[in-house]
């Protein structure tokens, strides 16, 4: 276990060095959610029945979660790139725990996400979003966000090790952009027609987004929703546990087995 921690830390250091060598990348990944906040918040917000400021308060937690689901894309791309470049195979021949490489990658992604969330929240504050609940609940909301990001990254790492190809991972990763559209990240799900509403409410993004809105005190839990949304905090934790329970073993196994 201590060797896993040692090698995991070394791999974390590697990923942080990559960020330090190329800080533009971190900034670039954050321009997308910020511009979406401004476009959605002001362009769409002006056309909605609710006042713009209320929609922007609703949107900030939603975009946080939508961006966190981008961990699938980030994890997939990085794992596929490493495999494609042959680095993964070199790691495989090194005497270290089979979990160290994916763990280090997921941990580094978490650090980058934590840093990247700060400017987004500042812009959120500038456009009228506020923490309306207690500080403890707000901390809980951020912790939940990070847990969800961590789970998404593991799913991405597994898919990236599976595809092995940067370009394919890029294409497939682009499709993950659609996931938040089928959730309550950008719009309330209770306005959706029957089956679409069911799909959206069983989307993990909806549970986490609802939990964040609840904990930040931005919007109440919708009535008559499916269980994960009706009990958003518990629902989010269960969703993350399920994702981690499935994808951590799959990713570690895929890493260990390689191309055999």
């Amino acid at each position: 276990m201590s060797m896993l921690a040692y090698h995991g830390t070394a791999m974390l250091g590697r990923q942080l060095l990559r960020l330090r060598n190329n800080p533009g990348l971190l900034i670039l990944t954050q321009t997308m959610p910020i511009s979406m906040l401004l476009f959605f918040g002001y362009v769409f917000g002006s056309a909605l029945a609710v006042p713009g400021e209320a929609y922007r308060s609703f949107l900030v937690p939603g975009l946080l979660v939508a961006t966190a689901s981008g961990g699938i894309m980030a994890g997939m791309f990085q794992a596929a790139q490493d495999t494609h470049r042959g680095v993964t195979n070199r790691f495989r021949t090194l005497p270290m725990s089979r979990a160290a490489v994916p763990l280090g990658q997921a941990a580094a992604d978490l650090v980058a996400t934590a840093v990247g969330t700060v400017p987004f929240l500042l812009v959120g504050l500038a456009v009228g979003w506020r923490v309306e609940g207690s500080a403890l609940e707000a901390v809980g909301a951020l912790a939940l966000l990070m847990l969800f990001r961590f789970a998404c990254t593991w799913a991405g790492i597994y898919l990236g090790l599976l595809t092995r190809n940067e370009e394919a991972a890029g294409q497939l990763g682009g499709a993950t952009f659609l996931l938040p559209l089928l959730s309550s990240a950008y719009i309330p799900a209770d306005g959706l027609p029957g089956w679409l509403r069911t799909v959206a409410e069983w989307n993990p993004i909806s549970a986490v987004a609802t939990a964040l809105r609840d904990l930040f005190g931005n919007a109440p839990v919708p009535d008559g929703a499916a269980w994960p949304v009706a009990h958003p905090v518990a629902g989010s934790v269960v969703w993350c546990a399920v994702l981690l329970g499935v994808f951590v073993p799959l990713a570690v196994r895929q890493y260990a087995h390689g191309e055999r």
């Binding site: 070394a10 060095l17 060598n21 470049r85 680095v87 021949t93 005497p95 270290m96 191309e259 055999r260």
Partner: protein
């Protein structure tokens, strides 16, 4: 199994779907020696390296590497080996120095900074050390790749075509490093397509064809199995057959024709064949000559000669060699 072999494999088999990449690979590499695995593309060289470095699991057969069972003690094997595969396997987004320090840390090397500086110097990379490897030339990246395999001294170093496509300077440097390693007791197993490389470095060569070792021996032993490549050019088609008959008798090998140039050639089975012998014999037979040449065997010659007894399709392959030679 004795421990005096750094690599000892018996009947290793690997199949990818319908393709049988390895069909019973037997290797015995004594500790501290350099073994060259020689063979054409698709012979199974890379698959062999991937199996022996724990990247792939064998379908059948067994092997011990650095004294440990390849499958059951894979972790122990990894403690003792290093691999530089085909192409590069470094993190191109890190600088050269960052790469070596990372691999130093992963290998739990004491004082990775000092070892890193030493290796950068040894491989002529100090000047570029703090630029991202993505901005480096291919040759520099390959050198870094080998340096990364040496952050701690491995018991067995695997090199998969380490110099393919490299400039002569990088090639010579890598050869020097390999020679230095064996002096320190490291066993080296390298695959190559170049006879010259095997000749320069290897104590023993294992000739691999279609997933099997077909011949083993020192470079000199292998070369003595194959004589020089003789070629005779005559003025007209009529004398070509007579020249071929002489060549057939002297070389003991089936001559191959190049009708466009009125040339006939053969890889001699007799290593003592010389130009005077050849000219005298042709003269005695009254064959008019435009040109006679005798050159050392190429990898193609050695390979085709040594494999022609095993598979039945050699005649077609000989034709291909002739075409290649004409183009060259």
């Amino acid at each position: 199994m004795t421990s005096t072999y750094a690599v000892l494999s018996e009947g290793l088999e690997k199949r990818f779907g319908e393709v049988r990449a390895l069909r019973g690979l037997d290797l015995a590499v004594p500790e501290g020696s350099v073994c060259g695995i020689l063979g054409p593309n698709g012979a199974g060289k890379t698959t062999a390296v991937r199996l022996l470095t724990t990247l792939l699991r064998p379908d059948a057969g067994s092997a011990r590497v650095a004294g440990h069972d390849l499958v059951r003690e894979a972790a122990a094997v990894r403690e003792r080996i290093s691999v530089t595969g085909q192409g590069t396997s470094i993190d191109e987004d890190l600088t050269g120095r960052q790469n070596l320090r990372l691999f130093g840390r992963l290998h739990r090397v004491r004082g990775p900074a000092g070892r890193t500086a030493e290796l950068l110097d040894r491989f002529g990379l100090t000047e570029a050390a703090d630029r991202p490897a993505s901005t480096w030339s291919g040759g520099m990246r390959r050198r870094l790749d080998l340096a990364a395999s040496l952050v701690r001294r491995p018991d067995v170093l695997f090199l998969d075509e380490p110099t393919t496509g490299l400039d002569p300077v990088s090639r010579t440097l890598i050869w020097d490093v390999v020679r230095g390693l064996t002096a320190e007791g490291t066993t080296v197993l390298l695959t190559t397509q170049y006879l010259e490389e095997a000749d320069q470095l290897a104590d023993d060569i294992a000739l691999v064809d279609r997933g099997r070792v077909t011949h083993t021996g020192s470079p000199a032993q292998l070369k003595s199995l194959v004589g020089a490549h003789a070629e005779v050019v005559v003025p007209d088609t009529d004398t070509l057959a007579r020249a071929a008959a002489v060549l057939d008798r002297l070389t003991g090998a089936q001559p191959s024709f190049d009708h466009e140039r009125n040339a006939v050639g053969a890889v001699s089975k007799d290593p003592t064949l010389t130009i005077p012998l050849l000219v005298r014999a042709l003269d005695t037979a009254g064959v008019p000559l435009l040109d006679v040449s005798l050159r050392p065997p190429t990898l193609d010659d050695v390979f085709l000669r040594l494999t022609e007894t095993t598979p039945p399709e050699t005649t077609g392959a000989t034709g291909t060699t002739d075409e290649k030679e004409r183009a060259a």
